[in-house]
Assembly symmetry: C2
Homo-oligomer: 279 residues x 2
């Protein structure tokens, strides 16, 4: 079952794929795990092939092994198999058909409802519950857990894709999954074997200098960095997505208009309705 070292690129190739040949960072230590991490790709094209028995439980064990703030474990996860519910989730996400097609679909929850039930059972009040901080802890907990599941999945030869677009309507997601107050789907995740007919390629990122600061935050030559990255990502897009949008164009398309939020401008009000006062 160990696909984690099979066919992984060399360090030089992995760094070149991740940053483009013009922006390769200094080579440091290297091993099979790093090769696996650097070689990460997402996919939206899944085979219907079922996962081996125990795969779900293995991914959850990896997820629960991630750090969690003060060991509060303020996350949960729901698997969705019902095709009708999958279709509704795909519609919420703006028509992402892979939600209906992948063999395993997970909805990761920021979940403080469990803490609420403890407080009820112990006849205590949780003064910290209604704060933004507590929602943030739960969302970060869910993200750390989910990312461990991604790494675990890739070690098994599976690919994934996060579905942030479930946040287009967190209230409807909560209704579909019968979530208690204090639980909210922060993102979904498709898991499965990638369709080999749809090539996947490592997506280049910004150079390290753009994200890594030493001592204090010093803005470097972002104009030059962005121009080079626009070329790199434009070429990636052309090879993989039959369009040639630059990063700049992608960023602006994603965040310049309220319409592009696809309802997520209402997230705060909907979170409040789901039991997160966000004080």
């Amino acid at each position: 079952m160990d696909a984690h070292s099979a066919g992984r690129p060399s360090q030089a190739d992995a760094l070149a794929a991740r940053y483009g040949r013009a922006a390769i960072p200094a080579a440091g230590p290297w091993n099979d795990t790093l090769a696996l991490l650097l070689d990460h790709k997402s996919t939206r094209a899944f085979l219907p092939t079922a996962l081996p028995t125990g795969t779900l439980e293995t991914l959850i064990a990896a997820a629960q092994s991630a750090p969690t703030s003060s060991n509060l474990q303020t996350w949960s996860v729901v698997t969705v198999t019902d095709p009708a519910v999958r279709a509704k989730l795909a519609a919420i996400a703006g028509g992402q058909k892979h939600i209906e097609q992948c063999p395993l679909f997970l909805v990761w929850l920021a979940d403080v409802s469990r803490l609420g039930r403890i407080a009820d059972a112990e006849a205590r009040t949780l003064e910290g519950m209604p704060y933004l901080e507590t929602f943030l802890v739960a969302s970060i907990d869910a993200a750390l857990a989910a990312q461990n599941a991604v790494v675990a999945a890739e070690s098994l030869g599976l690919l994934t894709v996060y579905i942030g677009a479930l946040r287009n309507d967190v209230e409807e997601v909560a209704r579909l999954l019968d979530l208690p107050p204090g639980a909210v789907g922060v993102f979904g995740m498709c898991v499965g074997y990638a369709d080999p007919a749809v090539p996947t390629e490592v997506k280049p990122r910004l150079p390290q200098a753009a994200v890594l600061h030493h001592g204090t935050y010093r803005i470097g030559d972002e104009t030059a960095q962005r121009a080079a990255y626009d070329v790199e990502l434009g070429a990636f897009s052309k090879r993989n997505e039959m369009q040639a949008d630059t990063w700049t164009e992608r960023v602006l398309a994603r965040i310049a208009t309220l319409r592009a939020l696809r309802g997520r401008d209402l997230l705060k009000a909907k979170l409040r309705a789901l039991g997160f006062p966000l004080k």
Copy 2:
């Protein structure tokens, strides 16, 4: 440099350590990466030993290889080496001396300031910027990146600990690191070699049945689950921390009182002051 498969436990032992012998989930597939993930431990006791050349860049390459929402890459990271700044960060975090002692200290930022600079350069307005959704995207991006860095560090024989307590005063952290508006430290992270004089042990988690739901969220026998987990975690605490708090006691101590938030009840106001309107 590959410590990722050296001395890792067997699947049976790894699952027993993570869940306790009474709550071991069904065994699924297994490999060296899963052994690494399941064997995660945090530490607060670091040797002063410097990290090999290139380690930081390798951790950042792993972090940048994590998924990021719409490839927006709304995170950055600051390394802190100045002892005076380390001391101030340790004080903000309630006196966590390991922040001063670890060879590498990272502050992970939710950072939409880069997008703001793109918009300025392109003479565009980003209507999506002021929303809670955008802060959440950036916080989740930072968490996914950071967790990849944790996995990478552990593959190199290093241990880490997240420092959520930097959120006790995000404004002071921003001042110390000279962050631009639209960037905030969501958590810190100590990285280094664990002091072998201070034993570390895998921390047991709740049983899978407590966090994994099928189809809809169904609350199982949480009373029995929690009673068993209280025994498990109490024994862990006694072995490792010279106290015997149960999970229930820990949860209540952490979230029952406003005082335990240590200033994080002001997080929303401070985020607004840092350029996150959270609409």
